[in-house]
Symmetry: D2
Subunit: 334 residues, 4 copies
Amino acid sequence: MRFFSDNAATVHPAVLEALAAAQPTDAAYDGDAISGRLDAAFSDLFGRDVAALWIATGTAANSIALATLCPPHGGVICHHAAHIQNDECGAPEFYTHGAKLLLADGPGAKLDVAACAAVTDAIGGGVHWVQPHALSITNATEYGMSYAPDEVAALGEWAKAKGLGFHMDGARFANAIVHHGCTPAAMTWEAGVDVLSFGFVKNGGLSAEALIFFNPDLAKVARIRRKRGGHLLSKGRFMAAQLLAMLADDIWLANARAANAGTARLASAAGQRALYPVEANELFLRLTADEAAGLRVKGFDFYDWAAGEARLVVSWDQPEAEIAALADALALLP
Amino acid sequence: MRFFSDNAATVHPAVLEALAAAQPTDAAYDGDAISGRLDAAFSDLFGRDVAALWIATGTAANSIALATLCPPHGGVICHHAAHIQNDECGAPEFYTHGAKLLLADGPGAKLDVAACAAVTDAIGGGVHWVQPHALSITNATEYGMSYAPDEVAALGEWAKAKGLGFHMDGARFANAIVHHGCTPAAMTWEAGVDVLSFGFVKNGGLSAEALIFFNPDLAKVARIRRKRGGHLLSKGRFMAAQLLAMLADDIWLANARAANAGTARLASAAGQRALYPVEANELFLRLTADEAAGLRVKGFDFYDWAAGEARLVVSWDQPEAEIAALADALALLP
Amino acid sequence: MRFFSDNAATVHPAVLEALAAAQPTDAAYDGDAISGRLDAAFSDLFGRDVAALWIATGTAANSIALATLCPPHGGVICHHAAHIQNDECGAPEFYTHGAKLLLADGPGAKLDVAACAAVTDAIGGGVHWVQPHALSITNATEYGMSYAPDEVAALGEWAKAKGLGFHMDGARFANAIVHHGCTPAAMTWEAGVDVLSFGFVKNGGLSAEALIFFNPDLAKVARIRRKRGGHLLSKGRFMAAQLLAMLADDIWLANARAANAGTARLASAAGQRALYPVEANELFLRLTADEAAGLRVKGFDFYDWAAGEARLVVSWDQPEAEIAALADALALLP
Amino acid sequence: MRFFSDNAATVHPAVLEALAAAQPTDAAYDGDAISGRLDAAFSDLFGRDVAALWIATGTAANSIALATLCPPHGGVICHHAAHIQNDECGAPEFYTHGAKLLLADGPGAKLDVAACAAVTDAIGGGVHWVQPHALSITNATEYGMSYAPDEVAALGEWAKAKGLGFHMDGARFANAIVHHGCTPAAMTWEAGVDVLSFGFVKNGGLSAEALIFFNPDLAKVARIRRKRGGHLLSKGRFMAAQLLAMLADDIWLANARAANAGTARLASAAGQRALYPVEANELFLRLTADEAAGLRVKGFDFYDWAAGEARLVVSWDQPEAEIAALADALALLP
């Protein structure tokens, strides 16, 4: 019973069906009819004109987004636990040609204005210091918390006042949306977000994420960067088809609801052991080595995090029985 | 009837079946069992230990290959019509951090030792000139010719003597292999090739090419570069499965044979109009604007190349009837 | 008797005197009073508001200029014999983060609109090709020719129509100005030039070139790039002082006049052997190996260029006697 | 009376004399006889064969050093207050093509093994995290402390065990040597340092620092990077001459002794106000805004650092009377 990550889950059947349906030859790259429907589909979803690019990974989406917002000699404010800082092998530095990540602090990998301002306040003027050009937050965060729209808006207002671009890493965007029950618009452009990495793969997709520009003009150079990064697949229709399949019938929301609900059930069973509020599909627990070993004996697979801590992730396709079994096991812990 | 490119053809049914079969959750990235079979499968094919990485595009494969062979301050010798020079939006410069492509000349986008030596002879020593570090050839070439193993070996010997790494862009490697009826080994490492971009997408794949290192040690940093380029998909098993499906039952060879045979038939019908020897699945023709228009009226879709020239590409899945119809139409030209 | 280059000549005494005069401590970097006079001094010279940055080498000046005009994914049109292509170890690619030099042809390393248009005409649209963003010419050229103001203006008009930035590598700008007897304004911004690398070191300076932005706004990021390239010296007053010393009393013009005049005298003696019109301080000659050896026996030091060709360069400080001796020796050649 | 920095002090007269003496034309770049003496001069100083490159700034020296030790996808451990992190506008990221600075903590900008190990212990394996490739320390530190040889050796041993390259930013190397009274060898290669940025400009030079490779093979690519960065001045003899002038008669040591002694005198006067041990030529003090204003009224110029803190720097050429006056003023503070 795998609770180690949502990034290797199965693919939603509708996605595989969409691949089969995309077979007929069409123009290459993103010149095909299916790719041609992306902008409209996401514009509908967000309630304004957006430019939407398919892209194979969240790492590439984040990095191209940041390269759009920040020059090589600039800096990007982010949490020190952010995926872009720790888990992408320096891809943001690669795509931005050496921009610096400026690290802020906050509980649960979540930032607020004070935390961001502490970073900018410490930076001198002139040409000697790398100057901040963008702010990047992750929603839901790397520790399973999620920003509410008004929290995003407070950061967006601050970023705008500082002249910074605003990026949201939404690898688990769906889980955040479901948790807050808000519109995608409220969570993004209405709150000042300029670019969104909209994750689908963890949530049932196969190999397509969406990179959303709320100012479609910004997408022009991003399309060049996508090609230059080797990310413009020749049979792009199979990428677009995945995204449209996930949007159809709100599969993306249903999948996130399932994962969040399962996580909430585990959190409830875990009680005071939770290290952070559970606001998406990840649960971080205090867990001794013996307790962890005991759970593994029962067949539960998960990651140790720090000493005495563990991470449990519920996937969109997690069987009900596995969640129930784990909840029972957690409830039995002392 | 589309003859404009093979890069948007359909996907071989076995590939789609392989995706469905890869559904069960396994470890993420390339830690899954299917990815774990790649090295052995390609080592079998090449008759020696190789490291094989799945990667989404030929552009990424080529660029990571070149970054492995050439430092930022080095140069890569290639034909001025090479895909890496003209069609990849500077991805080689991006992945190598600014290495320079050193352009050589030759008919049909094909290089020989004299052409390469003309480039190196013109380069001064010392730190002022960019020094060559690698040679890259395309087989089959961008103009549908293909190197025979002994031609590759002559270049390989020269490259080795000059201390240059040797890369082969094999976006249409299968077509070259089929044309010469040789082993993959004879065309590559036995001829001095260090790294091969082994194309599958034009030949029936969906979104997976293979990057083959004949010295497996070179793959170590390439795996890092793949991640850093945002190309390490989390559900990598679906990438590996495509490649294994194409190798199984020699689908990759059967598909290339079909495409080459169709092209040969067209070449035969076109007679003296062919601009280059037809040694793969591309046919370049002298064709007036009126003649081109006439063919299009009959339903044939293809690219104009230069003034008075056209390119016809036969895909692996090209219906027999389309080939016959185009052959007839070509034969009717004056 | 050294005729191999002007790049290792002595330093004009006024420059050394200016260094001594710059001793008193002032603010660091370019915050000192002497650096503060540069903009005004060059604005006077060019008859409009310019931003002027001191910088240690022509390579750095050229590279920062190009990085200002061209994004990493863009291209710069230049002659295939340009210094930026052959003699700077890829510094333009380094500072631009991988932009591509797009090579044009023309006699004597000189470009015209037709040569430039041949480059742009061969480039396809879309994201697959590197798109041109700038044009760079060298005046005087690497082969000792020089553009007249109207020739520059024709290129400037074309560049503007194409949306390209326009850079002039003026490592020997003074020699071109003196040859044409025109104003610095006529040769640059009045002809559409956006950025000028204004050379002083070959012409009597020690270690300071000037980078001139005719649109001062462009200098803002260039100042950041100068720092990021490690080119913002802490005792910058000694850099600015060199430039002001060279401008004072028109030393820069006097030095170039001397060098040009000496070269003209040699050209006159060499007669039909000259390979290119002599329009600056370089003379390229047809010269057999025996003839070259004969000159060297007489004490003349110079570079062989290609087979049967030699390059002679006259420096600003070349003794009259040396020029006379070489002129005599050339006149004696059969 | 300027105590704001040593980076804009006057140039030692011997350096100016050396410039005048270097006038006679010689080969360009670093092919001249004076540049040719550098390796031997620094090998003598360090008691082993070293490669020594002149370079215009400490920023360039540090960045090229780090690029030699760390690939684009690697990381460099340094203090969060290090000059390479805060004061070089991202030059290390530029020259390394995007390597990441991995920030460690310690009092007075000084690191020990525990602080460095805390950084490496937090880094996961595999390709997702940026892996450390080098350690960089500053000696004397940015807060005026200095490592003793055995402290450097402890770090060097740890770095070697971890497979990390070891760089020392010696912008104030002379001050550290003088403070500890040790040999340059003991402070560097005997303690495991691979590359040293050996500062001369703050200590009486004009525009030349030295980049010292204790493994001369490493210098080969560094020479290429120096050219590629636009740092290979054509009249390099004037760079080498500065360094040799500073080494002659141990001027570099005498100057540092003077600066350190002046600082010690100020520290003694300041008593308990000193924030860090004074081990070079910088003094950081607790100082209220009123107290700072009072000192400025008396004619002392210095930087505020953080709230309630000030930095005083004594230069090599600081007049005795200024030091005495400031010492008196400090002693009068309550």
